[in-house]
């Protein structure tokens, strides 16, 4: 379970302090698929960055399985991100000098797996995502949809506890977006915890729950009936 208590985040620009998150109490249970929605500037991406330990909150608590994550050292957070979390970024965030296979294998290698094992896991994961013929392609040689699929495979190849996705379909056409969301649903059915920021309501409705943010606060939570 990942949880926040009275989470705040503000940014200082000269003398001006902008409060982006204003006391967020949020929880996502194991195996849950949560969408975070809100208009631009509502603080949804900022919340995702706090939850995923990419950024440090100004105040409040982040608890992961009861452990206080916000007090971890940068090295501990790095290790947590490597082992427990997976990330899907809006712009795919693949490393341009690595092939699809190498992009997926890199976090596995960093976990200490041997090259042969890391490549085997990565290859199988990419094949399952329909990218078996794209293993040796650089990101520049892949379409947007393919790049996002590689990004998802990289995020889940090490079987993370939580998969974070920041507007994963924002740069994709409808057809590619549907493929991505199908993958998310399949992962969710397999028990993967997913926290996704999106501004597209049809995709948000595929989650178990939609958390609506406005002006740095959770204004409502909608339980979806999809699974019921």
């Amino acid at each position: 379970m990942i949880q926040t208590k009275n989470l705040t985040r503000s940014f200082k620009n000269g003398d001006v302090i902008t409060q982006v998150l204003k006391g967020i109490d949020f929880a996502a249970h194991d195996g849950e698929f949560v969408s975070i929605m809100g208009r631009s500037g509502a603080g949804k991406s900022t919340l995702l960055y706090q939850l995923s330990l990419l950024d440090d909150p100004t105040g409040g608590e982040i608890l992961i399985d009861g452990h206080q994550a916000h007090t971890m050292s940068p090295e501990e957070k790095m290790l947590f991100r490597l082992v427990k979390f997976g990330y899907v970024f809006q712009d795919y965030a693949l490393l341009p000098e690595l092939t699809a296979l190498e992009n997926v294998a890199l976090p596995l290698l960093m976990q200490g797996k041997g090259k042969r094992e890391a490549y085997k896991i990565s290859q199988e994961a990419l094949e399952r995502a329909g990218l078996g013929k794209r293993l040796g392609n650089l990101s520049s040689q892949l379409s947007g949809g393919e790049q996002q699929r590689v990004s998802i495979v990289r995020a889940i190849a090490h079987q993370p506890k939580v998969l974070f996705a920041d507007e994963p379909t924002a740069n994709l056409d409808n057809e590619s977006s549907k493929v991505i969301m199908d993958i998310f649903l399949e992962l969710h059915r397999a028990g993967q915890t997913i926290i996704m920021v999106t501004h597209e309501e049809p995709y948000a409705k595929l989650a178990d729950r939609i958390v609506h943010l406005d002006d740095g606060k959770i204004v409502s939570t909608t339980e979806n009936q999809r699974r019921g």
């Binding site: 990419l54 991100r81 965030a93 000098e97 290698l109 960093m110 990289r154």
Partner: protein
Amino acid sequence: MFSSLNIKIGLYLALRQIRRASLWTTSLIIFVMILTFLNLVVVSGVLVGLIQGSIDQVRTKYTSDVIVSTLNDKAYIENSPNIIALIKSMPEVAAISPRYRESGSLEANYKTRKDTDKPNTAPGQVAGIDPKEENAVTGIAKDIVEGSFLEEGDYDQVVLGHYLLKQYVPIETPAFSTLNNVGIGTKIRLKVGDVTREVTVKGIIKSKVDEIALRTFMLDTQFRSIIGRTDGNVSEIAIKLKPGSDPVAVRDSLKRSGVDRYAKVQTYEDAQPKFLQDIVATFNMLGNAFSSIGLVVASITIFIVIFINALTRRKYIGILKGIGISGNAIEMSYVFQSIFYALFGSAIGLLLVYGFLVPAFAAHPIDFPFSDGILVAPFDQTFFRVGLLVIATLVAGYIPAWMIIRKNTLDSILGRN
């Protein structure tokens, strides 16, 4: 911190970044490294080579590998025949040239000058040699620029060093007198002690070694009669060793045999004037100073290249950190890239220096007034400089990577300042 895993991941990333980097960028960086390497090695190498060329010439054309010469308080080497026999019996010795040497003077135009005119004279050393033996040791016959070298049977014929002739010395100074209107076939007066002999100029020898350029050579058999030496005692013995023989070992062996009781026994290095050794040390120091500047320039270049590289890749560095790749592993990737540039540039530089420049300088030395400048690049010094270059680029590559990597991960991903 720099665990084996970080090093492994750093190398993994570095290899792929180098392999898939722009060919032009990589080529440009390597080109800069080659120039830096050449600056490190060639500038000081040429400076030292100026003097080394002179030292080499003195060794080749005058002292050879070992020289035995008169003690300071003696006019000649006593017991010379026995010493010569001893030297010839040594297995390391390839050839020797015993020389008679006395101070003397030359006079030209004495037939045409009036009694009131100032005589046209030039002082200098006169050497009596066996042309075959001398040529076997120094090969100076090849340096004849006019006429021909001495031969057995020549009578009253001399070969003059070119500094004795006005046409070869463009400067005029009262301290340095030369013979005017003297060429091949000209008769001149040779005066050694109280003996004056009219001799004919047979050849003119041109050399950048003063001991040759200021000498008058004639057959030893004739010179002995001029100086009245019949005991076979000579003034100096130049000893050429077989390839691979150690001059120091031969010198020490001769000393152990007691030769140093009758003569000075020196290797070509011992016989170098101290000022020459001082100049070599000074030029070495100057070369090191220039090299240090080159090293700083190379470090700054690599710093800028890696900094720009890391800055433009800041987003990807953020992503790497975001997905859990350790900052040390990312730093290592830049360190490995720097080392690659330094090693690759140095490798090409080494090929250029030893495959092209050193042989080219040896075949076509720079024609300096006092020496034939060569490129001196001893392996140990060169590899020491390669090591310096690698260390400098390693540090220059690490610092900018460290500067970028320590920035906030999210700010890097989002491109925020």
